[in-house]
């Protein structure tokens, strides 16, 4: 079950066959209606679906209005450096900022983490590898450092160790920069996690106290999820203990801790197949343990789910601080704490928007900046860098943000397999 989010045209759907092969019990009438209308449909509310989803599980709630939308094909090869320069020349930034290629041919670049000696470790989506980017003769080169994993999207560097999260295993690699030709044997420091692959790819948010916040996504588009997912946990890699932090969350692949308060803020991808202009993806703020952010009952703070509302009202749940936009797909994010950028950027968040697939007119494909009070009040959002679109043609898909030691921003793009650098000069 590897090629999910980027598995474009693997999309031949077969509601009938899925049911035949045990894709889940579907009320006969609903199945006939869906079949008769030619719309793709899967019943995603069963353990069988979660453990053996069809390759195109995310297409299972197709509607007439959005019929035929499929995720982006991705790119078999990294975008060449020459082509990247051309693309970056079109990216708009505020005055004084510029964007350049920091490293090209970094396969499916996802979450980034910098080692003590300046090695950049980068996760991938479904290539199963973690790359190490180093400078060789003045040029940055990415090499596979860890191989043989499944979906190691999340990485972090803490206390001289590289941590990698691969669906249901959190690995620790001690002192990885000692020998970049051969990764040390890892230790599994936490694995009390469900094995579900759909939305199972994760991100690591160091909390600054030695623990990680880790998101868990539901193995469906919209369903009553297993209780082991749709949540954030805070995990201690030193001894494998964990606490449940927040629930009612759909697919989050990015978060950051506010340096002013220590609070967790996280991006969240809302459900698909409700429409081009609903619901919005979200930026959320955790203020106390056990907060419920609405999924699957309520979306974007004010839309009760037509099927999974189950009698609830949106007022029962914590609304987002910012509705980021329909299907923009916010992923990696960081609070800015550097001194290179002008003062107004300090303690604000940069969020990478991977870009939409479940919308006729594409949305996202850019980086936004959100400034907000430490109490979560008075948010202001602006588009910071973008867009990686040429009309409806995708030029790139930002997936993560990292602040470099000099205060510039590194941006990972898993479509072009490149890392960009955004710097500011007066």
């Amino acid at each position: 079950m590897r090629r999910l989010e980027t598995a474009l045209s693997k999309v031949c759907l077969v509601g009938a066959i899925a049911a035949f092969l045990g894709g889940g019990a579907l009320p006969a009438q609903a199945q006939t209606t869906a079949e008769a209308s030619g719309l793709k449909h899967y019943e995603s509310n069963s353990k069988d679906f979660w453990t053996h989803p069809p390759d195109d599980w995310f297409l299972g709630d197709e509607t007439k209005d959005q019929k035929g939308l499929t995720p982006n094909a991705g790119q078999p090869l990294p975008t060449s450096e020459a082509e990247l320069e051309k693309i970056l020349a079109k990216i708009k930034l505020p005055p004084g900022f510029k964007i350049s290629v920091w490293a090209s041919s970094v396969p499916q670049a996802r979450q980034m983490a910098m080692g003590d000696k300046g090695t950049l470790f980068v996760g991938t989506f479904d290539k199963g590898t973690v790359s190490a980017v180093t400078e060789v003769n003045g040029k940055r080169v990415a090499k596979p450092f860890i191989t043989g994993l499944r979906m190691p999207t999340g990485v972090a560097f803490m206390d001289h160790a590289l941590y990698v999260i691969d669906i249901d295993k959190l690995y620790k690699y001690d002192d990885p920069e000692a020998n970049l030709e051969k990764a040390p044997t890892p230790k599994v420091v936490y694995d009390d996690m469900p094995p579900y692959i759909p939305h199972g790819w994760k991100y690591l948010v160091p909390d600054g106290k030695g623990w990680f916040y880790i998101p868990f996504g539901p193995p469906c588009n919209v369903c009553l999820p297993p209780t082991s997912v749709s949540q954030y946990r805070r995990v201690n890699p030193a001894n494998g203990t964990a606490e449940l932090v927040a629930v009612g969350i759909r697919n989050s692949v990015g978060g950051a801790v506010d340096p002013r308060t220590g609070d967790l803020w996280f991006s969240e991808n809302a459900r698909d197949w409700l429409g081009d202009d609903q619901p919005s993806d979200k930026l959320n703020h955790v203020t106390h343990l056990g907060q419920h952010f609405g999924y699957p009952y309520c979306h974007q703070g004010n839309i009760v789910d037509p099927k999974f509302g189950m009698g609830h009202k949106c007022s029962e749940f914590t609304p987002p601080v910012v509705n980021l936009g329909y299907h923009v797909a916010p992923l990696g994010m960081k609070f800015y704490t550097g001194n290179q950028f002008p003062a107004q950027y300090k303690n604000g968040m940069f969020i990478a928007e991977h870009g939409s697939w479940n919308r006729h007119k594409k949305n996202g494909y850019r980086i936004v900046f959100v400034s907000v009070g430490p109490d979560g009040k008075n948010p202001k959002e602006t588009v910071f860098a973008g867009t990686w679109l040429d009309d409806q043609k995708i030029l790139g898909r930002p997936a993560d943000i990292l602040q470099a030691p000099d205060g510039s921003l590194l941006v990972a793009d898993d479509q072009t397999s490149a890392i960009y650098q955004i710097s500011y000069h007066k």
Partner: protein, 199 residues
């Protein structure tokens, strides 16, 4: 001479017997690619339309689809014996150029040797499996999904049978196995003939 190279040489020889030694290529490829394309043409045909059993036509295949298949063959993910020696030496730029070149060629016309089929019967099979969602309603393919219209029927039989058996590696394996696993051999033949006969 290794078994592989012998096979490539044999295949090339077989084609060269049927075609002039230096076939003139449709829509002249850019200078760097012309030499590469000569190698491809020896099996896949001078216009990307194959005259060899079990060798697919490449003309009009989507760019990304061609790139993915070459990348898989180069990595060894997809094992096609005759392609192994050729693919392993391809650079990223070669792959991009080949994708661009073959996708720009006029697609094969409806195959003349495709047996006439009962369209009603085929549609019953196809519509249930939503083939058009990926392959499009005219079966011209898109993105990483292959063009099926006008493809050699013997190759379509081979590809569907390989997917059904789980023998075909690369993208689409899971979905394609799911749609083909309940197909009988005669269904596969019928579908292949139907698609081959599509303009």
């Amino acid at each position: 001479m290794s078994a592989r190279s012998r096979l490539v040489a044999l295949a090339a020889a077989a084609v060269l017997l049927a075609f002039p030694l230096a076939p003139s290529l449709a829509a002249d490829p850019p200078p760097g690619v012309a030499e590469l394309v000569q190698t491809c043409a020896s099996c896949h045909g001078p216009e990307g339309i194959s005259a060899i059993v079990n060798t697919p036509s490449l003309a009009g295949q989507p760019d990304i689809f061609i790139q993915y298949q070459l990348v898989f063959m180069r990595d060894g993910t997809r094992k096609v014996e005759v392609m192994q020696e050729i693919a392993k030496n391809l650079t990223d730029d070669n792959i991009r150029e080949l994708g661009a070149y073959y996708s720009s060629l006029p697609p094969p016309p409806a195959q003349p040797d495709a047996t006439a089929v009962d369209a009603g019967k085929v549609n019953a099979i196809i519509s249930q499996r939503h083939c058009d969602s990926c392959h499009k309603e005219d079966f011209s393919g898109q993105g990483e999904t292959a063009r099926l219209a006008g493809q050699r029927p013997d190759y379509l039989v081979k590809a569907l049978s390989d997917f059904r058996a789980g023998a075909r590696r690369g993208r689409g394996m899971g979905t394609m196995m799911e749609v083909s696993v309940t197909l009988h051999d005669q269904d596969i033949q019928m579908i292949a003939d139907y698609l081959a006969g599509k303009p």
